[in-house]
């Protein structure tokens, strides 16, 4: 029999969007519960598309937040699916296993949470399908779970749900429940519904092995459309697979080459254009944007001197385009057009040369003192290590460029 199902994973409910400084209350309100609203859209889509069931391949919760309200919200949405006659099949992931309340949640009969002890198979005779899966028993699962999944059943459509860091896709993700693509392809199932990796990817089409990616991007590294895979099955074969964007707020990186900008006004106009285009790409969603300026230009000196001014320009450009744009960060990778062979003979030249010739070990010593002072003050939970590590790598170069810009930055307005 022909049917459709929705494959989603990595909902990370109530995990906040990272890196967004405060903005207007209106926009904040629209996206502060983005992960929940993305779940709402998932439920709406499943009902509207008349899906037979929804497959959730782990990490429904974020693990770090032990708030039962999150669980109750999830239960309420599962109830909506149950009322609409849509089944739900859940395999728990590492974050769910770390969660304190998962076991206490009461679901409707049409919601099935797979066993943590061993892989089990649920048969759906009405559509001729069988779903095999196993939940993570604890957070740190290092064994290959796929290896002990039941053999494919003949004459039906076999679906395997697996939360895994499949070989070759581990970047940024803990190497839990590792397995190889070849192993999955050869297992005999018609569809492997994977979870854990946050980027959407179809690893194989014969049979289908796919990650839907997470439902809602949470930071700039999770940019681009996010959502679930809508799978159509006809005659026990996948007849169509379509990625449906269900995110509420979209992360986007906008790169602007300033070498093509003759003036500050040009630069602002170009920024506006890029932001408009990014907003257009987001199909009516709010966007959180990192604006990166790169390229060599005579403007870069002035910009480096007045980064705050540049930020304000970018914010104004965003406001002019729409209220739906949130600027996550304005990053400057532009370099001033000072060639060392063109350094002037005067004091400015000597100063520049001193800075260029500075021994490479001199800065880190200063830097470590500053980072130490900052580390003492930064609160736990503020992702200080990640920040300070990045600064350790980037700050010396940026400082040197800033110092050169201060010398050669042209005449100030005042």
């Amino acid at each position: 029999m022909n049917f459709k199902f929705l494959h989603a994973a990595d909902l990370h409910l109530d995990s906040p969007l990272q890196g967004l400084a405060a903005k207007s209350a209106g926009l904040a309100e629209r996206i502060e519960d983005a992960s929940r609203r993305a779940l709402d859209q998932l439920v709406d889509t499943a009902i509207a598309e008349e899906c037979r069931f929804v497959v959730l391949a782990g990490d429904i919760f974020d693990g770090e937040l032990r708030n039962i309200k999150t669980g109750l919200y999830f239960v309420s949405r599962m109830r909506r699916l149950a009322e609409a006659g849509v089944g739900v099949f859940i395999a728990l992931g590492n974050h769910d296993a770390a969660n304190g309340f998962m076991d206490k949640l009461q679901f409707a009969d049409s919601v099935h949470v797979f066993s943590k002890r061993k892989a089990e198979s649920i048969r759906l005779p009405d559509v001729g399908a069988v779903i095999h899966a196993r939940s993570f028993p604890q957070e740190d699962v290092r064994e290959n779970l796929a290896r002990n999944y039941p053999a494919a059943e003949p004459g039906v459509f076999n679906i395997g749900i697996l939360h895994t860091a499949c070989q070759g896709r581990e970047a940024y993700h803990a190497p839990y429940a590792p397995c190889s693509l070849a192993e999955l392809v050869n297992h005999g199932y018609q569809y492997w519904a994977l979870g854990h990796v946050h980027a959407s990817a179809v690893l194989s089409e014969r049979p289908y092995v796919a990650y839907p990616g997470n439902l809602q991007g949470r930071h700039i590294r999770e940019s681009g459309p996010k959502g679930a895979l809508l799978v159509a099955v006809e005659d026990k074969e996948v007849a169509g697979l379509e990625h449906r964007s269900l995110d509420v707020c979209r992360w986007s990186i906008v790169d602007i080459d300033i070498s093509e900008c003759g003036s500050r006004a040009d630069l602002v106009a170009r920024t506006r254009e890029h932001l408009r285009s990014a907003l257009g790409d987001a199909e009516g969603r709010a966007i959180a944007v990192r604006v990166r300026f790169a390229g060599e230009s005579s403007l870069s000196g002035l910009i480096a001197l007045d980064l705050q001014g540049l930020r304000e320009d970018v914010f104004a450009a965003a406001a002019a385009v729409s209220d739906d744009i949130w600027i996550e960060r304005v990053a400057l990778a532009a370099t001033p057009s000072i060639a060392t062979d063109a350094i002037e003979a005067g004091t400015a030249g000597i100063l520049s040369q001193e800075i260029i010739d500075l021994p490479p070990e001199a800065l880190p010593a200063n830097l470590e003192l500053m980072l130490g002072a900052l580390r003492d003050k930064l609160p736990a939970g503020a992702r200080a290590d990640e920040l300070l590590e990045r600064l350790r790598a980037e700050a010396p170069h940026r400082a040197m460029q800033s110092a050169l810009s201060l010398i050669h930055g042209g005449t100030d307005a005042n």
């Binding site: 039962i68 003979a345 004091t347 030249g349 100063l351 980072l371 003050k377 010396p396 400082a399 010398i407």
Partner: protein, 1162 residues
Amino acid sequence: MRIESLKIERYGAFEDKALHFAPTAPLTLVYGPNEAGKSTSLAAVKDFLFGVPERTPKTLLYGGEGLRLTASLRMADGRLLTLRRRKGRGRTLTDGDGNPVEEAQLARLLGGIAKDRFETFFALDHHDLRSGGADLLTAEGEIGRLIIEAGGGLRPLVRRLERLEAETDGLFSPRRSTERAFYKALDAFTVADRDVKAGVLSPSQYERLRLAVETAEDHRDEVRDEKAMAAKALSKAQRNGRVATPLRQLDATRAALASMDNLPQLPDDFHELVAAAKDRLAQAREAATQARGRAEGLATRLAELNIDPAWSAAEMEILDLAQKRAVVAKQREDRPNRIKELTEAEQKLTELRRRLGAGPEDDLAGRLPPRADVARVRTLVAEAQRREPQLDAAAARMKELDTELSKLQQRIQDAQTTARCEPLGVTAAEIASLPSAAQAADLRRRQAQAALAKAQDAAVALGLGDLDGLAKTPFPSAQRVTEELRVLDELDAHLRAEAKAAADAEAEQTLQTIEAERLSRGGAPATNESVRAAREARGQALEPLREAYRAGTWDAAPDARARDVDKADRAIVAADDLADRRAAEAQRAAEHTQALRLSKAAAARKLAALSEIERLKAVVAARTEALATAFPIAAKLYPEPRALEDAARRRETTLTAADDANAQLDQVQAAESLLSSPLELLVHVEQTTGIDPKERSTLADRVRKALAAIAAHEEAYADFSRDLVKLEKDRIELREAKERLDTLKAAEIEWNSAWVVALPKLSLDPKLSLDDAAAAAMEWAAAEGILTTLTTTRRRLNRMDEDEAAVIRRADALGQRLGLQLPEDALAKVELLQRRWSEHQAKLTKHEALADELKQHQQDATDDEAAAEKAAAMFEHLCHQANVPEGDGAALAKVCLRHLEHRERRAAERQLLQTLAAAGGGVSEAELRADWHGADADALRAEETKLAGDVDALEAAHTQAIETAVKARADFEEALDEKGFSTALAAREAAIADLHLVTERYVPLALARDLLKEAIAKVRAQQQDPLIARAGALMSILTQGAFSGVAADIDDKGQPVVVGLDRSGRSVPVGLMSDGARDQLYLSFRLAGLESYCAAAEPLPFVADDLLVHFDDARTAAALEVLADFGLTTQVLLFTHHESVRNAVEPLVAAGRAGVLDLSLS
């Protein structure tokens, strides 16, 4: 680089202005009263050097199109460069011949200095000078700042650094302050984190709250049920109270009704029916009588009207004629327009008829040509009109080219007779540096030779003969001698130390010996050993006595025994004395022993020291001997080690100087050999360009002439090359022009044959002129439409005449049928007919109305009579119902009265039943009677009171249970409330983002700040001394000796600062200087900084704009003196509009040290 002249075209208010900046004088004063163009000239200098900005007020008058700035620049090496600048977006620079010059070429000459740097370093005005001086005061003369800001012209950097400090301080510091961005974000984080934690609901909390709600709601429901049962009982008791009275009244009413059972069954409204029947009977009889009378009156009036049927039959005919009349009237109005249309159309055809020779009656429609033929003629006309000017232009261009070609060929031929048709093969750059290189090589050779002679003298002075002898004589190195001296010094120090040790030991020994003697005076002190010896002696003395006593052998002689006893007693006494003394003299004994021990140790040390002295002396002698053996001559000449060391050092210095001088000579030789090739090139140029060898003078003169010759040759050769290219280009163009002309002519022939065919098709003569033919074709094109209009209009006029005749015919026929006499005019005929017909219509309408009214009155009379009969029948029927004889009205009235009473009683019964139903809450009467069971009122009230108390108590309990349940539910709901939780999470993330943002901004900025400060400190260390020395000298001149110089000092905060030195050399802090002195100090540092720059790179002009505004006459003279001197280093352009400055510069002009460019004259 010196700007010798600047030509300004269409810039600012200048249309064409040439400025010549006194090329030979070091200082140029550019003088111009207000509006003479001083600011424009100053701006032109900068715009020439760095480009004309895209938006500039200088184009307001003439626009940017014709703007040109042309300058002649003299480089430090003597080269002259002419460049021209226009306004535009790219490639705005050309050379004197208009060839494009890369911007980078000028940028190289400017040493990478951009416009803004030029303005802060090479340009200075009185405002900058004054604020620079003021800043010095603020910074209390801090040296680093002076070097950077005044000496380096880096004022913006200092400002930026201050801003940077402020910004980093505002971002973060380990010291907490709520003003700092970091701590603001941190506080926001703390608040949001607290909110997040408050919003989290754990599973156990959730379960506890849920259970509380469940329990409270169960209890609430139980109490509610109990209360409901009590309320039900109370309600029943209250109902009994309410229904007792109505039940009793109901019983009484029912008894009264039972007594009226013999009354006939009549409807409730019987008496109203009787009254109504009587009224209706009387009214119907009266109405019938009146209707009959009205009908008779109307029949009489109808008979008086007389109607003619012939008019009614003619209705359709008259209406149709009326319509036709309207048409004819409209046509009559339209007729003049149509006639005018005919006339106009005919007029339009007049010209065409004339051209075709046709009369006014001739039918043009028959001669109308096809549209394609007309169009063909018009196309041919257009072609001919386009071709004619092209033919003329092509012929003219050919003629022009012929002339140009013959001129070019002549010029080329002329050039080929001279050598200038070939490139020279030598560029100016290859020989330009020859004089300076030759001069430099010569100078270096002389310096090297002088150094060598000096070294020779030094060798002789050392007593080792010449340099060769100096090099060959074995001589210890200075380092070796120094090392030897160091070892000998060390040995000497050891020797002296050992001698001192020996003397000290000897003194110690003497001292301790005396001390031991002093302590042993009065007998040797009792020592432990002597006490032990005395005790042994006592033992020995007592032992024989003890033995004899034990053995009982007292056989010895009495005196022998007495002796033994005495001996024993003495021994006992001696030992005891000694022990006593030992106790008493323990300190003295110890000191004595110590003195002896120290004396012995000192003797040993003395011996050891003496032995070491001997050893060291031997070592010294051996080393001196070894050196003398190794370098006998040196040791002989310089026996003293110190003298030897000095000689060795001088020898090495001399040898190094000699080596350096020789190396220098080698280098000079190499440099001179490199000059041979440019020299050959120079000779080649001279020979090729015909410079007379007899005129040869200095190399510099030769090179200058050769450079001029190269430039002239290159120019001529460039002209020749351009001519060759032009010749080829013109030839090609000539060929193309001829081809174009041929094509045009061929087209003309083809056109002629088409023309003679096309014109007759329009009935035109082929010889007709182009313009006439064009006009005729146009008229034919218009004629088709005009002819169609003519035909249509004539047809319409005919139809008008026909319509009017038909109307007259039909009206006359109708008039005859109706017997009516009609007038002549068609329209009047119809109007009369219409009028008569209207009168007939009015009469007819009135007749119809009267007939309808008569019919209605007759019907009314019949209806009223029938109603009277029906009313009489009804009255009879009612008497029958009441069981009284027919027509007995009195009996019927009596029955009516009794019937009314019965009806009221029944109504009372119904009312009581309603009351009972209301009081009984809808319960049946039977049930109410059963519940009441006839109880009396007091018993009923007592029961009600008791039950009401029960209900009140349960009500209170229920309220309490509801409140408890509501609170439990509210607590649960509140805990579940999501409001604010997501907001708190988002706020916490926002605070983290802010913390990251601040940190990421702070760290690179703070590092950049530290970097700059470090670099500034280094630059200060490097530049401080030379810059202060030079600035001091300038300050002395500028202040005419009021300050003898400047110096570095440390202020009371430990900061390195600059101070002035007054005439007597006392230091004057910046804070104590006058404003003028501080300005002069700032100027001194700026000039010193510029001198340092000009020594290292191509000097750029120093542009001073009204610099001396705040200077009095004496200071102005001193400043001009300094600027004129500075003009030897680089060009100085001093702009002013002050006449006093112009006057002050006169002495310098007279001395040839300054020139004046008066803008009001040039």
